[in-house]
């Protein structure tokens, strides 16, 4: 039985903030294929093309036939816990601070055995469902949990280290004027966020959905114009130390490529409202979030960006928009590296065209903002790093992995 989480009390302002420590970080280059799978929530293991055996840990030759054609592919998630132990005095600081900590050796249905973090409801002899998770160091680890749902399962202490569950956490949604922002607020509320700060620029200007937003319990409207450096820093000075999850919902979507636009004012706007907004937010909120990565049940845990999947390959119909999104994707990788010492993860949610006014002329399928928000929260609950929501995003993701050149050509036709 998982002990349900208790809503944390207000923090004693005199208490020292526990500084983040990280689990061991080094991985072999080959093992980073597991990082890729974990980032997307897949359970992939090396499989030998020549003889079909799954292997683990990651190798550079098959231990059955010595072939070097080892490809990572999705593997059955089932397994059985052969043995478990509770680490009371681990050698590593991160685990010592969190002891007792349970691990097990799992015999995978796929064949190999895997040392894994054990969910509190999984015991020696149990069948388990395996996953690869991104840990606080941003690196892949194995996690074993019950095959079927158990009460308060996601409150498990060890599981919560692997995820960014909004439950009892305080969220900043940076732009509440848009339908996306409002859907994210709704989804966070449903996920049990304790406070949701919602940024509104120029509060005197009414916007659709305003009444409903203001009426929601637990929502605090805060003044925020992310394109403005001072506005962003002012808000960070006020609530920065209370933001556990920041969802960057800044958006500025305009159609058009390069040659059919005259002048640069639209482009400057795009850059200011997306790239510069992201930059302001990162510089204002990033440092304090990084400090608070191990600050109890409501520690700082995640930074979320909503990005266009066309950040990977330019879609000339929205060519400059795609370019700014690519810049934001690049910046997110920088932020991810810089937040890592704090154990704070950066999750990018990639979408295709959304079912909003700025994609009016684009034919379906288009992604409903509610589906986007649901996917975003699911990603946080599962501790993902790269989330592709909707059919278009998923398809572009696969096409990019298969042949980025083909994707570029076809998007340009």
């Amino acid at each position: 039985m998982t002990e349900p989480l208790v809503r944390p009390r207000r923090k004693n302002p005199l208490a020292r903030t526990r500084l983040p420590t990280l689990p061991p970080q080094w991985r072999s280059r080959t093992s980073h294929e597991l990082t890729r799978a974990a980032a997307e929530g897949r359970f992939a293991l090396q499989c030998c093309v020549a003889c079909g055996h799954f292997t683990y840990p990651a190798r550079d030759a098959c231990p059955v036939c010595l072939s070097d054609e080892l490809v990572f592919k999705d593997a059955p998630r089932g397994g059985t816990v052969l043995s478990e132990t509770t680490l009371h005095i681990p050698a590593d600081v991160y685990f010592r601070e969190r002891a007792p900590w349970r691990i097990g050796l799992v015999k995978l249905d796929a064949g190999p055995t895997m040392v894994a973090h054990l969910h509190g409801d999984s015991k020696e002899g149990d069948t388990v469902r395996m996953s690869l998770q991104i840990d606080k160091a941003g690196q892949p680890v194995a996690f074993a949990q019950p095959q079927t749902e158990t009460p308060h399962m996601s409150d498990d202490k060890q599981w919560r280290e692997m995820t960014a569950d909004p439950k009892f956490r305080r969220v900043l949604v940076t732009n509440g004027r848009t339908v996306i922002g409002q859907e994210v607020v709704r989804a966070m509320k449903e996920a049990g966020a304790s406070i949701i700060f919602v940024g509104i620029a120029d509060a005197w200007k009414p916007f659709p959905g305003e009444m409903a937003l203001r009426a929601m319990d637990g929502v605090t409207i805060v003044p925020l114009n992310t394109a403005d450096e001072k506005s962003t820093f002012d808000l960070a000075a006020d609530i920065g130390a209370k933001v556990d999850i920041l969802v960057n919902t800044s958006e500025h979507i305009r159609g058009g490529g390069l040659l059919d636009r005259h002048g640069t004012s639209t482009s400057v706007d795009e850059i200011e409202r997306s790239y510069m907004a992201f930059l302001h937010l990162a510089q204002a909120f990033g440092p304090v979030m990084r400090m608070r990565g191990a600050d109890g049940v409501n520690s700082a845990v995640a930074w979320v960006n909503i990005l266009s999947v066309y950040a990977f390959a330019n879609w000339p119909q929205f060519g400059q928009y795609s370019a700014v999104q690519a810049a934001c994707l690049s910046l997110s990788q920088c932020l991810r590296a810089e937040l890592r010492p704090g154990g704070v993860r950066v999750m990018n949610v990639f979408t295709g065209p959304l079912d909003t006014e700025w994609f009016q002329t684009v034919p379906p399928p288009k992604l409903a903002p509610r589906v986007l928000a649901t996917g975003l929260v699911r990603g946080l609950k599962n501790g993902l790093e790269d989330v592709f929501v909707g059919d278009v995003a998923e398809e572009v993701h696969q096409r990019f992995a298969a042949n980025p050149k083909a994707l570029e050509r076809e998007l340009g036709q």
Partner: protein, 392 residues
């Protein structure tokens, strides 16, 4: 007992067992400890460093140096050089390689040395950089170091064969009694079974007295032909038989046996003796459970009878099954790679009759074993040697 197809060792002796008394922590380098061991070897054999023409070293804390760097460091001019990174199996491997080398006259006097220092952060650093599989798949799960991994093995073994903590405690308690007679042992106070049972848990079912204490120290011996020993006027122990095995039983989902089980017929066949002939046994005791596994795999009892075996025997120096007579790593300390050697040097002293306070009466023949390298989920290397005194 089936024979062995291997060529017996042709009058190969192992001499001059050396132990540089351990220290819990040392500000000296591994080089210093190894240097002290070399010096002690020359004194014990009445030779100079110039007489050593073969050198084999094992250490975890030499930094960027390997055997070759040490030749210049210590003024050794050798024609045979080895560096064995096999952890707890290093001594047996060194012994085997050196024996064949002197037998073939590739060298005449080989110094086999293991030594490590222990700074306050040495152990953690060794853990962090132990192996690729460990860094990829074990250390990030909090099981850095042997405790977590051996806890998984121990728990499975105990459940499978009905072994209780008390049974493992008997091994630890007997070793402590032995250690109290060894002036160099780091552990100086008696240990009762009650204290063993009441110890704090480290990683279930591993508790405090199941764990070795990392320390600094060095151990060494010389390998040569009998004629060389005679010319030097020293007595060596005869090497009767050895085995070595790596990555045995890879298809066992969990380790319940080591490579010894694959090779014991060869070991006893080569030596022409039976397990019952042993006057003492020095197992590799990183954990009592691993010693119990060796009682089974080395043929002193059947698989699964380890618990009964320890219940039915007295494992102290004066008992009916003298085991780890120096106190072993559990009570004397684990000086890094020297932990592989502690059983071999003690076995040499026993059969040479020079063990002093830990001497087993009339010890003529004995066995020392090694076990090492938990690369991922199990110890990969195993080895054993049978040594006999001059009179046998």
């Amino acid at each position: 007992m089936p024979g062995s197809l291997r060529r017996p060792y042709d009058r190969i002796v192992v001499a001059a067992p050396v132990t540089i008394p351990y220290a819990r922590y040392s500000i000296k380098s591994a080089h210093w400890w190894i240097g002290r061991a070399l010096k002690a070897l020359t004194e014990a054999a009445g030779i100079t460093v110039r007489d050593i023409d073969g050198f084999c070293v094992s250490s975890f804390t030499l930094g960027m140096d390997t055997g070759i760097g040490l030749t210049q460091h210590f003024g050794l001019c050798v024609r045979w050089l080895d560096h064995i990174p096999l952890g707890g199996a290093s001594a047996i491997a060194a012994l085997r390689r050196a024996a064949r080398a002197v037998e073939a006259h590739d060298a005449d006097i080989i110094a086999c040395v293991a030594g490590d220092t222990n700074h306050t952060d040495s152990f953690r650093r060794t853990l962090e950089n132990f192996s690729r599989f460990s860094s990829d798949a074990v250390y990030p799960h909090g099981a850095g170091g042997a405790n977590g991994s051996f806890a998984l093995i121990a728990r499975n073994y105990m459940r499978t064969y009905g072994v209780k903590r008390e049974d493992l405690g008997r091994i630890a308690v007997a070793q402590r009694a032995n250690a109290l007679r060894n002036p160099h042992a780091l552990m100086k106070t008696p240990l009762t079974l009650e204290q063993y049972m009441a110890a704090r848990p480290i990683a279930d079912p591993i508790h405090l007295f199941d764990c070795v204490m990392p320390c600094a120290g060095a151990e060494a011996f010389l390998v040569m032909r009998e004629e060389t020993a005679k010319a030097l006027g020293i007595t060596g122990a005869k090497l009767l038989g050895t085995i070595e095995r790596h990555n045995a039983f890879g298809n066992d989902p969990m380790q319940v046996r080591g490579g010894w089980a694959m090779d014991i017929d060869d070991l006893y066949g080569m030596a022409g003796v039976k397990p019952d002939d042993m006057d003492f046994v020095q197992t590799y005791d990183d954990y009592p459970v691993i010693s119990m596994m060796q009682f089974e795999d080395l043929g002193f009892c059947k698989k699964g009878e380890g618990a009964d075996f320890v219940r039915g025997h007295d494992l102290t120096i004066d008992g009916d099954f003298p085991h780890n007579t120096s106190g072993g790593q559990l009570s004397a300390g684990q000086a890094g790679a020297a932990g592989a050697y502690i059983g071999v040097t003690e076995a040499l002293r026993q059969v040479l009759g020079t063990a002093g306070p830990t001497q087993v009466k009339n010890a003529k023949i004995g066995l020392a074993s090694g076990f090492g390298m938990i690369n991922y989920d199990r110890g990969l290397s195993s080895g054993a040697a049978i040594l006999a005194g001059a009179a046998s």
